[in-house]
Subunit: 377 residues, 4 copies
Amino acid sequence: MTGNVFGERFVVVSFGESHGKGVGVVVDGVPAGLGLAESDIQPDLDLRRPGQSIVTTQRKERDVVEILSGVFNGKTTGAPVAMMIRNTDVDSRSYESMVNTPRPSHADLAHRTKYQGFNDYRGSGRASARVTAGFVMAGALAKKLLREELGVEILAYTLELGGIRAAGFTLEDVRRKRYLNEVRCPDQAAAEEMKKLVVKCRGEGDSLGGIVECVALNLPVGLGEPVFGSLDSDLARIALAIPAVKGVEFGSGFAAARLKGSQNNDQYFIDKTGRVATMTNNSGGVVGGVSSGEPLVYRTAFKPPASIAKRQRTVDISKNKEVDLVVPGRHDPVVVPRAVPIVECCTAIVLADHALRAGFISPVVGGKRSKDDRERP
Amino acid sequence: MTGNVFGERFVVVSFGESHGKGVGVVVDGVPAGLGLAESDIQPDLDLRRPGQSIVTTQRKERDVVEILSGVFNGKTTGAPVAMMIRNTDVDSRSYESMVNTPRPSHADLAHRTKYQGFNDYRGSGRASARVTAGFVMAGALAKKLLREELGVEILAYTLELGGIRAAGFTLEDVRRKRYLNEVRCPDQAAAEEMKKLVVKCRGEGDSLGGIVECVALNLPVGLGEPVFGSLDSDLARIALAIPAVKGVEFGSGFAAARLKGSQNNDQYFIDKTGRVATMTNNSGGVVGGVSSGEPLVYRTAFKPPASIAKRQRTVDISKNKEVDLVVPGRHDPVVVPRAVPIVECCTAIVLADHALRAGFISPVVGGKRSKDDRERP
Amino acid sequence: MTGNVFGERFVVVSFGESHGKGVGVVVDGVPAGLGLAESDIQPDLDLRRPGQSIVTTQRKERDVVEILSGVFNGKTTGAPVAMMIRNTDVDSRSYESMVNTPRPSHADLAHRTKYQGFNDYRGSGRASARVTAGFVMAGALAKKLLREELGVEILAYTLELGGIRAAGFTLEDVRRKRYLNEVRCPDQAAAEEMKKLVVKCRGEGDSLGGIVECVALNLPVGLGEPVFGSLDSDLARIALAIPAVKGVEFGSGFAAARLKGSQNNDQYFIDKTGRVATMTNNSGGVVGGVSSGEPLVYRTAFKPPASIAKRQRTVDISKNKEVDLVVPGRHDPVVVPRAVPIVECCTAIVLADHALRAGFISPVVGGKRSKDDRERP
Amino acid sequence: MTGNVFGERFVVVSFGESHGKGVGVVVDGVPAGLGLAESDIQPDLDLRRPGQSIVTTQRKERDVVEILSGVFNGKTTGAPVAMMIRNTDVDSRSYESMVNTPRPSHADLAHRTKYQGFNDYRGSGRASARVTAGFVMAGALAKKLLREELGVEILAYTLELGGIRAAGFTLEDVRRKRYLNEVRCPDQAAAEEMKKLVVKCRGEGDSLGGIVECVALNLPVGLGEPVFGSLDSDLARIALAIPAVKGVEFGSGFAAARLKGSQNNDQYFIDKTGRVATMTNNSGGVVGGVSSGEPLVYRTAFKPPASIAKRQRTVDISKNKEVDLVVPGRHDPVVVPRAVPIVECCTAIVLADHALRAGFISPVVGGKRSKDDRERP
């Protein structure tokens, strides 16, 4: 398979560019019978949309989704669901001036070399975070499927931004408060500090990184196909497909490298409901490559956006000469707040794929497939 | 595709169990014409083999590889290469006693639930690190292919163990010194400390985690297929398929989340050879999902082995009752030293796959495919 | 992978319905640098379009293709190429009346059962031959790629219709004459007879079947990946994906079952150009699962369209009662003429995929990938 | 994916050569909990084995299967099942003499060109029908799975051999009589004639072709994933992967091209059991790319084996000179009788894959996956 296809049974195919006609996605493998309309997709797109607040780029896009196929009478049909948003606020002028002066830490030079100059560099083309609008469309669909069929809840939020870390929050805080502030952080006090830092940094023409944490609740035990199709393998794979992500960790993650087994192991007990549970969740809900029944918890590290207004050193490759560069255009001073719905949706894509692979969701929603119901009427 | 298959053009199929007949791999897509014998595979298996030193498990296996197919007259034929090692030193008695008392942070309970009790639990079955012998066989083949066709060099080593971090070493130290000590660390002084810590920890019946760093040199620009088949996506995917891995990061990784763009960006200059290079390598050699031409650098976090001799709390699920458990059997007090060749081999698998996908390696070694040589004689 | 995805390196993803918003396709893996515009795709769509003549359905669709992504400055970029046509002349009324009376030999009942009633039955939904417009868009792109990069020529034509078989024609006749008549047959005399038969049959409310033959010239030796990815395997797979196809055969095909080895074998000789050639081509240009260098020749059998105006017996499944049915709506009396460009395009999809898989076409058009050109400038 | 991998959820990976160490297969995706031992696989291998009678090659192989992985306590574990037979009666001498004189209609020249001389030509290597022993091992497993989980019965048999066609037989004849004669034909009188013809033809140093028909009973409605993963697409794909197959047809097949819709359509009625059924089965049990509930019926055309003792014309490619060739070695005068179990097993592979894809068989045998049983104990 080629690089723009993800999944085995819930297959996501990404297409579109930042400054082309638009960005879209085809999802093949969506079970028949799921209620679906544009209004199920639009809210997540709205959370990802640029131009919403002072902490994001000022590009204005309405990002209105059109479902092109796969829905009939308000329900999915089992056929591929194609969805698309059209680009409207495109200003490609600044990119022409940069064709020969690749932006540091951007895909410019590597993609130019790989595609031998044929890549669409306008607005970074396929390397733009705008491409993740397709991930969000597919993921919004996946979230609905997981919620309705299995009661799965997925919650992503800003854990850390510019070195400021959220603390002392509960899952209920995440549910109620993360969207009450521009930085999508469940700790309101930290959120205030984060926002101030972003405003200051934007003023300096610089950018900030951060960490998004994602929790998924109410998962069945056994999602994931060891060894290469393990749940953490697939989550890590899609996480790294999001632009600006440089790391991913599950449960205690990198900190586990400094713990002893006696400290890191999740010992078992019988909880009040009589169910076997673990005293800690350093595993992050994944052991042996499959979901354990504890909450899935993982974190994704985002670097600061490479596009900054500060003067940087680069090379004019048409003249083979070092030059200074000040990146023009409109950019996010930090991607983390807008990455929150993206991470949530990417998580949903992986979970939906594995729920289908493991048979927890049927090819027909609510459907039962057994030896006895295979007959025609 | 199912979970035991990895890759698109260099396809690795893993099979085998810890206490079954053996562990093996089939590699489909190996170019024809590569010199290959068991002696090309055995050295990496020997580095991974258990029972080598005080820092590893005492299980004694010779792990002698047999190539079952795909080689003729000392060269690959273009047909699938199947390889296998047989298990010999199997002692499954201790596992019977643990059937109903799942080991904390092990796959026991989750796999039992997923496979409804049919999984082979002896020696942890498919969840055992022994399965990675198959990754090593495939990766040793991939390393040879990359080295001979592209001059690629891959170097993994212990960067950190039990909180002790290697420092002040050069790439030349990595090449010359990492295998001079049992912990596979290029910093000899740190290696001494690490080894002492392992011996002490083993004595306490406990275990340790650590971090393996991997560097790949001389890569072509443009390996990786954005967006979902990006180079970092695929490396992250296979990294998380290695037992005990809980995180992966590229270049500045999680630290990037705390840097500003002006600090993290890799600015360009023209180096002494007249080639465009970057002043820093915070990108870790991957930008926009493809190799940049700078060295690939990434790190993998290993948790401490879950099997410890210390008393732990679990539940006897046949009696639905909390009980104490002391895990019997022979175990690694730390997996990091043996993980070094595994990470190196897994990296090679991904790089070989992408070198084939991008056309840097041909279906026939040294072969040129063009419009002009497609004729029959 | 799911059912609407085809190919490994030239990946075709089909979406859309007969009476929905339209029909489309995403092609991932298109090499960068290929000149591409809507005008390269439209001619094949025009050949497939309904309503062109007396031998086709009277549904009127202009089928104007829009390229949604993957092209910049008139060339492909290496990113996915999404293309779509919108439906305009949709009349779904007749299908409501048939919801409970499945049409004999149509997908109605089987799809209703499979999708438990959620499938879009209007105009037969995904089971409609209209879906092949997506195959044609992808295949027109593939044909251009094959022609420009390898000089491959693909020619499909009506060999047989309603039992009347073309005879005595040359390849030059195929090139010049097949589109001079409505039935797309290189034998003009036979074409006259075929057309008369179609007109007569349409008048009787009945339908006709036929055979499309396809020839591909100038193929490199060695396209195809034995054993399951053999060239004939993949051609057969996509042929059976075309609605109404019930059989496929290569070279002497089913007739080979009645020949002796001494009759069927293609003996070798040295031709005038000094090249090794075969005296016959009973292999149809495929031996051992790969292209042999002789012309690829295969045939596809189309059944008569299931939608006929004649009274037929069916069951009203809402009442569990046998009833008579006269299928209303606009239908093709024979699909063979419109199938000609479809078969040609499907062949191109398979050949482009295998030309990329075998390295005969590079990821960048005209590009050379070698150890020496992997450097950055 | 590469060429030696087949399937999506029941994944078959073929390896091994005719004159190498042996032939094997890995099956990934086998549900856990299926009773499995070598004795379940051996009978089908025995039916395929060479040297059994006067109508087959005289190579003597016992073809004893060893299960290498994936079974524990007599049941499958959900892990990959690897199986292998070792070659014993290998005589490669005759092949050395033919290296430069490619056998007409064999893979010799095309594979030599594709693999640039590195292919294992001994015994035809991967192009040998011996490779199908791997298909049979995988298919025997699939047959058991289908039989035990769904009650599916698959029956292949010789329909035609050397132009002699079986007639007047019932399904019960197929079940009881096909293995009572060497040619595996349910019509005993025809079988006599066929055998005589084979003996005569062998005496003349020539070979014969034929047709294998395969019927599958008791299939659920809805197996198959339109459009490219349709049931007939996948059956055709695997059929053409069998050496010597030149065509495949479903139901009325090529004959449908000469029928009118009113003749070919399968009209519905209500049968004695109150179930909707069709009066005819010209569809061969597949409509719209999915199983219809009627018996699956399809036919596969085998050409006469290319290896004949008669003098043939070829080219000595080392001297670029035309020469005569008499193929030495031991060969089948006809492959059809030995192809019967191969076709049956290949059919089972496809059906098992689609039964898993459609959810008719669960990842754990007998298992039910629902919202309610996803809890840990």
